[in-house]
């Protein structure tokens, strides 16, 4: 492994650590060196960043009124006895 360049096939498996910052030191430099000279992987990283950004706009389900009522009652009881 040491001294050999990363292949594209290997890079796509390291991307999560790269984006999270847990890929460090020499392993990170190898990743960046490959990226600097590879259009395919540059596109892949951009695709993954776009995927993450798009996923970030997903919204959560609504809480039902029934559940809200139950929890609000529980909170009032707790606050009253606290």
């Amino acid at each position: 492994m040491i001294g050999r360049e990363l292949t594209c096939k290997e890079l796509v498996e390291l991307i999560t650590g790269y984006l999270d910052g847990t890929l460090r030191g020499r392993r990170r430099r190898r990743f960046e060196a490959h990226l600097a000279s590879c259009d395919g992987c540059t596109r892949y990283v951009a695709q993954m960043e776009a995927t993450i950004r798009a996923t970030g706009t997903l919204t959560e389900d609504q809480v039902t009124e029934e559940q809200k009522t139950v929890l609000l009652t529980a909170f009032r009881d707790w606050a009253a006895s606290n």
Binding site: C8, K9, A50, T51, Q67
Partner: protein
């Protein structure tokens, strides 16, 4: 457990909760309840039981609030209470969920179809044989449009439950990896591998969608 330092917002919120602020409490419920229901549902048999578990967890949160020391973020602490109750309840139901059934059996699968790379006989072994599409040309309103979100939502819904929850918490709700690890009781490696698989599949679904749109 070692948790992320509490968000400064957390401290103000905890004070408001201790003071009996109903708006603050209901706001927290609206933020966390959907994810709590999904997480509980991983460990117990029905949606109805999951609802009971989540209610019990909120009662546990209220009981523990005065003693909460803020050594983890508030939401991490709430999810620890939740998962403990959910796991206990699941065991009582005789429903023990091995990690593999929640995490999925494809954690070692490649992120990209191996056919997309050159074969070992070629001199450029392991490099793209067909380049990924250039998404920078996709207009923002299409990338973040309703249809795209529906594709992402459907892709996440087909993931094994733990992969689905990790990508929802990390990418949809913006939790840190440390918060997710602590909330779902995962090792650092498991958290990363689950997220890696989940993102690879969501990216794959988008690639398929954008490519079919272009033709």
């Amino acid at each position: 457990m070692t948790g992320a330092p509490p968000l400064s917002d957390d401290l103000a919120l905890i004070e408001r909760l201790r003071a009996g602020d109903e708006t603050a409490f209901m706001n927290l419920v609206e933020h966390l309840q959907p994810a709590m229901l999904r997480v509980a549902r991983m460990y117990v048999s029905t949606a109805a039981v999951a609802e009971e578990v989540v209610q019990e967890a909120w009662l546990g949160v209220l009981r523990g609030l005065d003693a909460f020391e803020g050594r983890s973020s508030l939401r991490t602490w709430i999810f620890r209470i939740l998962t403990n109750i959910a796991k206990t309840r699941g065991q009582r139901e005789g429903r023990s969920q091995p990690f593999a059934s929640l995490a999925g059996d494809d954690l070692d699968a490649p992120a990209v179809d191996p056919d997309r790379f050159d074969t070992p006989v070629a001199s450029s072994h392991g490099h793209w044989s067909t380049l990924p599409d250039d998404w920078t040309a996709i207009p923002e309103d299409r990338l973040l449009g309703r249809e795209t979100l529906a594709v992402i939502g459907r892709a996440i819904d087909t993931l094994p439950p733990m992969q689905a929850e990790v990508i929802r918490l990390r990418d949809a709700l913006g939790w840190t990896s440390e918060e997710v690890r602590n909330a779902l009781d995962l090792t650092e490696t498991n958290q990363r591998v689950l997220l890696h698989r989940a993102r690879a599949k969501v990216r794959g679904a988008l690639e398929h969608y954008f490519a079919s749109e272009a033709t």
